[in-house]
Every structure is written in C-alpha cells, then in structure tokens.
C-alpha cells in the first residue's frame, strides 16, 4: 500500500459520496445519451457509414459529458469548502491529483459501461468487444488526468463553466482523434494491429498527462 | 492557372499581415502611454502624502 493509501482514500471518498447521491454518473449518462440522440438527427447515418462515423459520435458524447462531470466533481468540493479541507489533509498534492483522477476516471467508466451498449444497440455498430474496453479505459484515464488539472484550475476562476471546456477540449484533441480512430479500426473489423499506432498515442498522452499533472498539481492548488 | 489573377490574394495577405501587426502595435503603445501617465500621477500622490508626514 504505502504511497497508494492516500490516493485510494481520496478516490474512495468521491466514490462513497457518489454511491450515496449518484450525482455525477447519472448526469454523465443522461447527457451523453442526449448527445447521441441529437447527433442521430444531425447526421444521416446509414448502415454503410455508421462504423466509420459512429465512433466519432460516441467519443464526442463521452468528451462533452466528461466536461460536465469534471466540472461537477470540483464544484462539489468547492461548494462545501471541502477543497480547503482536502488541501489541509495529510496528502501530498500529487496524491490528491492521482486520487481525484482515479475517482473521475471511475465515474466516466461506469457511465461508459451504460453508454456503449446503448450506443451499440441504437446505431447497430459491432462495438461490444474486449478491445473497445481496453481503448475506452486507456482513453478515459487521459481524459480524467487532463480534466482534473484543468477543472482544478477552472474552479478558481471567474466564469469557470467556460474556462474548463476552453482549456480541456483543445488539449485533449490528440487523445480524441486517437480514440475515434482506434475505435473505428476495431468497429470496421480491422485487425488489432491497425489500431496499434493510435494506441501508442493514447499511451503517450496518458503518461504525459498523468505524470505531468502529478508534478504540476501543487502549482495549481497552492495554499 | 493565370498567375496574374492571384494578385488580389497576394495583396490581401500583405495588407492583413501589416494591418494586424500595426493595429496591435498601436494598441500596445497606447496602453503603455496611459500606464506611464498613471505611474507619474501615482508617484506624485505618493510624494504628496509622504512629505507632510516627514516635516510637519
């Protein structure tokens, strides 16, 4: 345990809170499904193009919902002045960052566990595979890492609702591109190897943002 | 492709570059001038305030 103890303690706190009021996961699921439905009418999907276009819609829904969930996760901390408490807790800033990242990643993954089967059913895309699970988990880690840094920043600014997406969306664009392409590669029946370059990008992004976030987080939340 | 029909694009590129650059330059130097004036006024105020305190 050792170093992992505080990280898990922070994540567990968020998870327990979530189990009690189901605030974040429900908003994530409802919002991302609405995005799917809106896209269904905005883009004419045919059995031919759905395997190519569908993954894009799926990941846009996840990314947009992610913004809402991340914002919520820090607004909850701020509203009850819990953030100050957290900063006083005997947890280093990188531990705090990793704990919040883990918690946020789990929320997003739980929402995806609902969203992805619904997506597969609504759009008739062959997507319920092990590979997609791996891609989703890895991408979500990057989303959560980058998102936790930016959400912690945005919470301390005026008009934080706009600050988070403005910082988050361009920064995660390579991750979004890679996730869409890797998912499309698997959905169109391409070999696992065809997606490997994209998986590499996801891996690099995850590593950079999780390590970088942990290193920089004490500048974001300084007392 | 007749090269001469592209002259309009060429001039547009140069005009936009110059206009953008000089507009920015103008705004920055105007702001600097305002700030310098403000600094002078503030300095005077600080001096006025500290002087009577020094010799009553």
């Amino acid at each position: 345990m050792g170093a992992l103890g505080p990280i898990w303690a922070i994540a567990r706190k968020d998870l327990l809170l979530e189990v009690r009021n189901r605030d974040i996961v429900v908003s994530l699921v409802v919002f991302s499904m609405l995005v799917l439905i809106v896209f269904n009418f905005a883009i004419e999907l045919t059995p031919v193009n759905v395997a190519v276009v569908g993954p894009g819609i799926l990941w846009v829904a996840i990314a947009f919902a992610g913004v809402i969930g991340l914002n919520r996760s820090f607004v909850l901390e701020k509203e009850r002045d819990a953030l100050d408490g957290l900063m006083l807790a005997p947890v280093s800033r990188d531990g705090l960052f990793l704990g919040k990242t883990l918690g946020n990643a789990i929320f997003m993954l739980v929402a995806q566990a609902v969203l992805i089967p619904v997506f597969a059913a609504l759009f008739d895309v062959d997507i319920l595979r092990f590979e997609i699970g791996v891609i989703a988990a890895m991408t979500t880690l990057g989303f959560a890492g980058a998102g936790t840094v930016f959400a912690a920043m945005a919470i301390n600014t005026r008009s934080r609702e706009i600050m988070l997406p403005v910082l988050f969306l361009p920064a995660i664009s390579p991750l979004l591109i890679a996730a869409v392409e890797a998912t499309a590669g698997v959905a169109t029946g391409g070999s696992w190897g065809a997606s490997s370059r994209w998986i590499q990008i996801i891996t690099v992004f995850d590593a950079v943002f999780v390590v970088g976030g942990a290193l920089l987080f004490h500048y974001v939340l300084e007392d | 492709m007749n090269p001469n029909t592209n002259l309009g694009y060429l001039f547009a590129i140069y005009i936009i570059t110059w206009a953008g650059f000089f507009a920015y330059m103008f705004l920055v130097s105007r702001r600097q001038r305002d700030l310098e004036r403000e600094i002078r006024q503030l300095r005077q105020l600080v001096e006025q305030k500290t002087k009577p305190a020094g010799n009553p």
Partner: protein, 247 residues
C-alpha cells in the same frame, strides 16, 4: 532616457528592414515559375508561422522559469509571448488560408501543420482567457504557467496525431505544392524577410513586456498609496486589465 533612444533606433532599423524586404519581395526576386506571383506571399507567411510556433516555446520557458524562481519578470515574459504568439498565429492562419485558396482551390485543408497550428492557437486563446478570468496576482500567474507548460508538451502529441490522421484520411486537395529547392535569390529574400519579421516580433514582444512591467508598477504604487492611508484608486489601479485584443 537612454532606453527611449535605443528604442527609436530600433524602430528606424525596423523601418529600414521593412523597406528592404518589401523591395526584394515585390521588385527584386524573380517570380517562381510553378506557382506564379502568389508564391511571393511565402516570404511573409513562413517567418510569421515559425515565430508563432517559437512563441509557444518562449511561453514554456518563461512559465518554467517563473514556477522555479517565482520572479514576476518570467511571468511577464510568458504572458507577453503568449499574446504576441496568438497575434502571429492568427496572422499565420489567415494568410495561410488566403494562400491556400488560389493554390489548392480551398480555404482550408486539415493537414498536420495547419491542424496543429489551429489547435495550439486555441490552447493559447485559452491561456489568455485564463489570464483574464483567474484571480490577479501570483495565483493567476501560476495557473497560466501550468497551462503554458501543458500547451508546449501537448504540441508534439497533437502534431503526431494530426499527421497520422492525415495519412489515414488522405487529402482531396491537389495542385502544385511549394517547390523543394529555392533559387539563391529566393533564399536570400526569405532570409532578409525572416530577419525583418523576427526583429518586428522582438520589438512588439518587448513593448508588451514593458506594458506588463508598468501594470505591475501601477499596482505596486496603488498599494503603497493605500497603505499610506489615501483611499484613492485613480483610474483602474492595480487591476491587470488585458491591455489589448490583438487577436
């Protein structure tokens, strides 16, 4: 006032460089056979684009140095570089579009360089918005420094992803590209115009830096004044209002 005379000398040099490079671009250098007269746009577009990317590195250097040393001047450098970088990036994007229209018959194509420039441009728009919305003083400076560093680290990942995406979705754009080799006259013209643009950039960067320094001085003086008991906040006092909307 030695400072002032050095700056006016620099302005004179800038004006001379500008005149020389314009003369070379429009009168002296031969027209490129393949692309025609529009190729002359590259003498400006290329240096402006390079500076836009270089500005990001400067923001990152200033940000790292500020976080390590805590000295405000590094923060001023990062801020000045970000704003001028957004200006040059915007110019690079707009002039690139106008260049693409006659050459490729489209205003925009999602190639790796353009895509990366556009996304980075938005990241640094975000940087400037953060500076405007974050609490003034050290906290805002620290937050923006983190964004500046993240932007620079993200840049190669964005480029790699955009490049790979491009090979997966080949362009429908066809037409002559910029030719590989430059005639010696063209190379010389590009060199002179690059020096000109770099000098202009450096000048505007220094000017922007001075504005930041003056803003800090105003804030300092207002604080001093308040401490000495005068409730006067003449005009906008210490608020680090964004000076300009150069974008």
């Amino acid at each position: 006032m030695r400072d002032v005379s050095a700056r006016s000398a620099w302005l004179v040099i800038n004006a001379a460089l500008m005149a020389v490079s314009l003369w070379m671009i429009f009168l002296w250098v031969p027209t490129e056979a393949n692309l025609g007269v529009i190729q002359r746009a590259l003498y400006f577009h290329v240096p402006v684009s390079i500076i836009a990317l270089g500005a990001i590195i400067l923001v990152a250097i200033g940000s790292v140095a500020f976080l390590v040393s805590g000295r405000p001047r590094w923060d001023w450098l990062a801020h000045a570089s970000a704003e001028t970088g957004v200006l040059f990036g915007g110019l690079a994007l707009v002039t690139g579009s106008i260049w693409a229209r006659p050459i490729w018959n489209v205003w925009w194509t999602w190639d790796a360089k353009l895509t990366t420039t556009l996304i980075l441009w938005f990241i640094f728009i975000g940087y400037l918005m953060l500076r405007a919305y974050a609490p003034p003083g050290r906290q805002g400076a620290r937050l923006s420094a983190v964004v500046g560093i993240i932007g620079a680290i993200d840049a190669p990942i964005i480029y790699y992803a955009a490049d790979l995406w491009r090979t997966a979705h080949p362009s429908r754009v066809t037409g002559p590209g910029a030719s590989g080799s430059l005639e010696s006259e063209m190379a010389l013209t590009l060199l002179v115009s690059t020096i000109t643009i770099v000098s202009l950039y450096a000048y505007v960067l220094v000017e922007r830096f001075r504005v930041r320094r003056s803003e800090a001085e105003v804030a300092e003086l207002s604080k001093e004044l308040q401490a000495s008991g005068i409730p006067a906040r003449r005009s906008d006092g210490g608020a680090p209002a964004t000076a300009t909307g150069g974008d």
